[in-house]
Symmetry: C2
Subunit: 325 residues, 2 copies
């Protein structure tokens, strides 16, 4: 999950202002966490610090282009990352996850109640942060994305343990759970960009496709492993009742998988065996192929843009693909 190489490549393409802005985003995230009491700092600090790829803030920056270097773009990127962090904290509550990126989750170290309130606080601070930009259109983008995230989570729970989920429904869930916040990141960047006219929707569509591909590849990684790459054992989604594209595709190819009741998979060893069987059908390659096609479409449908900005956007899209390589 190569953050730094992607950021470095983007900096080479788009200019050193991206590196400076990423630094300011980190500082501001730390300040938001530190500025709302010891409890938030104690509980959310590790989730924010663990950090991960900062892919969404990076999307905000590259969608905005080189002229957006003020506090507005930093606030937009911070707001998106805070919403993302809030969903991570809440997702861990839902999954009762013990570790995220190798560190104890909020729910594991402090309990469900603290984790629920911590996520709520991060979510509120995201809107407070973005409100300081004074732009109601930005608030609308973020609140719609926030609604989509929650609706996606509800859909995932509704479909839990259902082996017969169709591809279309799976894709709808990925759109809600993941792609819409990538879309929002690009839209917010475009709105803060100097010459956003007519590009907000197009850049939003780019982000949405990149986000969809990101989720597909994430779901492939859960089946392909290895655990030291993902920080989880293979098949964690399956044990959680979440039926993803690899299994959906594999069921069309392997009657025994088609007959499998997801509820019967109870142990990591059983999940591992199902993963191996899914892999044997070639479903992982097919899912990966679909994700790559979506990334290619995202790049092909980019609007007319200055060369360095287009290159930076393409590099971020490629960075999503490289996670799998």
């Amino acid at each position: 999950m190569a953050t730094a190489p992607t950021v470095d490549a983007v900096v080479r393409a788009a200019g050193p202002h991206v590196a400076a802005l990423m630094g300011r985003i980190e500082e501001r995230l730390a300040a938001v966490i530190a500025g709302h009491g010891e409890l938030l700092a104690a509980h959310a600090g590790s989730t924010i610090a663990a950090g991960g790829k900062r892919l969404r803030p990076l999307l905000v920056l590259v969608a905005a282009g080189p002229d957006a270097t003020g506090d507005g773009i930093v606030r937009a990127a911070v707001a998106v990352e805070l919403v993302h962090s809030a969903t991570l904290v809440h997702d861990d509550v839902l999954d009762a996850a013990a570790l995220r990126r190798g560190r104890p989750t909020v729910v594991a170290s402090a309990g469900r109640d603290i984790a629920t309130a911590t996520g709520d606080l991060l979510f509120s601070r995201a809107f407070a942060e973005l409100a300081d930009n004074g732009r109601i259109d930005e608030i609308q983008v973020l609140s719609d994305a926030g609604s989509a995230l929650a609706a996606g989570e509800l859909l995932q729970r509704a479909d839990a343990w259902d082996g017969s989920v169709p591809v279309q429904r799976y894709l709808e869930r990925c759109e809600l759970k993941t792609a819409r916040l990538f879309e929002a990141a690009c839209m917010l960047g475009a709105l803060e960009g100097a010459d956003a006219d007519g590009r907000v929707e197009a850049l939003g569509a780019f982000g949405r496709r990149v986000g969809l591909a990101f989720q597909l590849l994430d779901d492939v990684l859960d089946v392909s492993g290895p655990a030291e790459r993902t920080g989880k054992h293979r098949g964690a989604d399956l044990l959680d009742g979440t039926v993803t594209l690899p299994l959906i595709l594999a069921r069309e190819r392997d009657p025994e998988l088609a007959a499998l009741d997801p509820r019967s998979v109870r142990t990591p060893a059983e999940a591992e065996a199902v993963c191996a069987r899914v892999e044997a059908t070639g479903a992982l390659e097919e899912a990966k192929r679909r994700a790559l096609a979506i990334v290619a479409e995202a790049k092909a449908e980019l609007p007319e843009l200055p060369g360095p900005q287009r290159e930076a956007l393409e590099l971020v899209a490629d960075g999503v693909v490289e996670r799998y390589a």
Copy 2:
């Protein structure tokens, strides 16, 4: 918890437009719930429909005065109630509550994961609803209140099972958990009001005091019972580890209560016994007296206002007190 009498009295004082607006608020709440998928309707519908007092929307209306009758005031009231509903759904997750107002909670009927996502969705929709007013100052008021709610929840968890919590810390928690959203209701109403200049802060302070008194009396009710009034057995807060004003005051009067470790209270019967002992110290009267003094202060500090609006605000403040009578 006399909603209807309060609303009726306010309508008599402030005019029939309040009744019409309360009706429109109910319709809009129902439409928001219905408009975001079956899952939200199924899970949040009962929480919203159970409704309760609609005290916060009423505060929005009476703080706005008679000239605010457009969609803006309805959206502000709906947004506040959605945030309140989101916190109810999440609080029930934290408390693992089975019933709220005599109906099964979302967490009891659908599980923690659905309840967490449902609360998140209600919260996002609140901001989406308010954003349609196009006023960034209103978004700032709501996001600050949302942050306060979550911070209050964190504080409550941090103080759980701590019998030695001082009064000041308890009051701080009540401010965050409850009073700040009442304050936001009044500030949003004032912002939507026709002639809000200089009254936003003053009306906010009124709401904050009313909210603080509301929480104090709610905590008195938890100890005084009876269960058929509150829908819970006496001492539910204590069993949940939440040390409130009656116990804090009673500990100053009764050495045996001062020596009590809240963790030792494990059964409803034990909680009932502690409640009786708290009651015997006179702490309930003292807590109630403090709440009434705060309500009186709220009324005394109201800014200059037209007679009917002032009367309506006073009636809502009195309605909070009457819950206890």
